[in-house]
């Protein structure tokens, strides 16, 4: 029993390593794509790794209190916790992590958890821009969670299961079984929420580099920032894998996973390079209008068309 658990933890550590490295690489790739759009060459692929190393090699770090320490720790715990319950490769015993019945609920909770921990940590730093960033980030999160939750409820009704593995299993047997084709209304609502989730323009109102320096992490430096950067790669890749599992049929191998997640990521990137930043009120109102209506429509669509 104990050996079995140790093996599982070992498998999960391997998954964690691969997903983090993949997240960092894909982040560098996206930066390069954005640079090409702007007519630049862009950063080398090694840049995110060097940045994290540099931050861990800083000689000094000041603290603002206990919660300031715990903020980045909560954030990365949120990232690791989210990944722990998302099955990464369908049909693989090794890379299915701690997936179980009802893990979809846990994953949605964990996605919130990191943000709240970060809010407490950044709040203690006492920087006014951190507080503004948190207010913006949490209100935007509340806004995009509405269409996302509606889309998730819709596919839970459609597949009659709360297990992510169950949802992926129901989509096997060809592309025509993917949620994006069987329940395109829910996918549309979720992809609009996804734009807000990834934090690219026009929904980068909580980081807003030239406006409120960098939002919540303004005071975080050295190893704290290194942790946050690692989490950004890990959490970003985990969200991509979650969306792939819920709406795009999951993946049966690493190559399939990389192709699918990269394409999903490109949705946010293409929108990001094409549009400037929204104002706070515009960004939040956006989610309460059309995406929420599409989300409600997806539930009606499931009840009227798919179930009956």
């Amino acid at each position: 029993m104990i050996l079995e658990w140790l093996g599982k933890i070992g498998d999960f550590s391997l998954t964690l390593l691969i997903v983090t490295l993949y997240g960092l690489l894909v982040g560098a790739y996206v930066e390069r794509v954005i640079a090409k759009v702007q007519g630049r060459i862009g950063i080398p692929y090694s840049q995110p790794f060097i940045n994290i190393l540099k931050n861990f090699f800083k000689r000094t770090a000041v603290s603002h209190g206990v919660m300031f320490y715990l903020g980045p720790v909560f954030r990365i715990a949120g990232g690791i916790g989210t990944l722990a319950f998302v099955p990464v490769i369908y049909g693989s015993e090794m890379f299915s992590n701690f997936s179980m019945a009802g893990d979809l609920f846990l994953v949605i909770y964990f996605m919130f958890f990191g943000q709240l921990g970060m809010a407490l940590g950044a709040g203690e730093s006492g920087h006014p821009y951190s507080a503004i960033g948190i207010a913006r980030g949490l209100s935007q999160m509340t806004a995009y969670e509405v269409p996302f939750a509606l889309a998730v409820i819709s596919i839970v009704i459609q597949y009659d299961t709360l297990s992510i593995t169950g949802i992926v299993a129901a989509q096997q047997g060809g592309w025509q079984n993917w949620t994006v084709f069987t329940n395109w209304v829910a996918t549309l609502a979720a992809m609009l929420a996804f734009l807000g989730m990834m934090g690219y323009s026009p929904f980068d109102i909580f980081l807003a580099p030239q406006e409120i320096p960098v939002g919540p992490p303004t005071e975080f430096h050295s190893a704290y920032l290194g942790l946050l950067q690692t989490n950004r790669a890990l959490f970003g890749a985990t969200k991509l894998i979650l969306f792939m599992n819920l709406f795009f049929g999951g993946a049966t191998g690493w190559i399939e996973l990389m192709i699918k997640t990269l394409l999903i990521y490109m949705v946010a990137v293409v929108v990001g390079v094409a549009y400037p930043r929204f104002r706070v009120d515009q960004g939040i109102r956006f989610f309460f209008k059309i995406p929420t209506l599409i989300g409600i429509a997806s539930i009606i669509y499931v009840q009227m068309v798919l179930i009956s």
Partner: protein
């Protein structure tokens, strides 16, 4: 910095009122030794050299030369350079030309809030000898009397190409382990502070901005 310090380890913070003194740390900064194993220090220096985050604080007319760095023509992000809006996260301070006394106060505040190892790049002729403002009543002439400078790029104004060349030169110096400005500042802390207080008359901040 919570543990009690001896009087030789504390700063006076005489510029602050008694009430404000409770709000700021009075600890004296400490110089930092390199890692004992040379290979580790070399690796750390390589990482530091290839990830230079410049503080987005335009301190003089030379700041206008910083903007094109990130544009398509010069694209300094190829060398690991990025702009950072907060001193906590940045490692390079570019002194953009002349430093007036009023700005010098802000430069010191921002510099001390940066986390070590930190590097100062002086751009233009003004930080060297005052340049065209040599007899001005409110600019400082020799910048390295007030903060340690790691690399000078002279000219009036140096073009962004020269700035990129200077950044590459700075990277070479960091990799060789010869950029110890932050430690020099702490080792000669009293001398630098005395010079700073000589020109800044309304000193109403802590002696070291943690």
């Amino acid at each position: 910095m919570i543990k009690s310090l001896g009087t030789e380890d504390t700063l006076e913070n005489a510029g602050l009122s008694a009430e404000e003194q409770q709000l700021f740390s009075n600890a004296r900064p400490k110089a930092y030794e390199p890692y004992p194993i040379k290979a580790v220090e070399d690796f750390a220096n390589w990482a530091r050299a290839n990830s230079l985050w410049i503080l987005a604080f335009g301190t003089g007319c030379g700041a206008i030369e910083l903007r094109p760095l990130m544009s398509a023509r010069f694209d300094a992000s190829r060398f690991g350079v990025a702009g950072r809006p907060t001193p906590r996260q940045s490692s390079v301070f570019v002194i953009g030309g002349y430093a007036s006394v009023k700005t010098l106060k802000r430069i010191i505040r921002s510099y001390e809030q940066m986390q070590g190892p930190k590097f100062v790049l002086a751009l233009g002729i003004c930080p060297v000898n005052g340049g065209m403002y040599f007899d001005s009543y409110n600019t400082v002439n020799q910048f390295d009397q007030y903060l340690p400078v790691d690399l000078y790029i002279t000219g009036c104004m140096p073009r962004p190409e020269v700035l990129v060349a200077g950044i590459m030169e700075l990277q070479k110096k960091i990799k060789a382990g010869r950029c110890d400005g932050a430690n020099r500042y702490i080792e000669n802390f009293d001398w630098y502070k005395a010079n700073q207080k000589k020109v800044i008359k309304n000193w109403d901040m802590p002696d070291y901005n943690w």
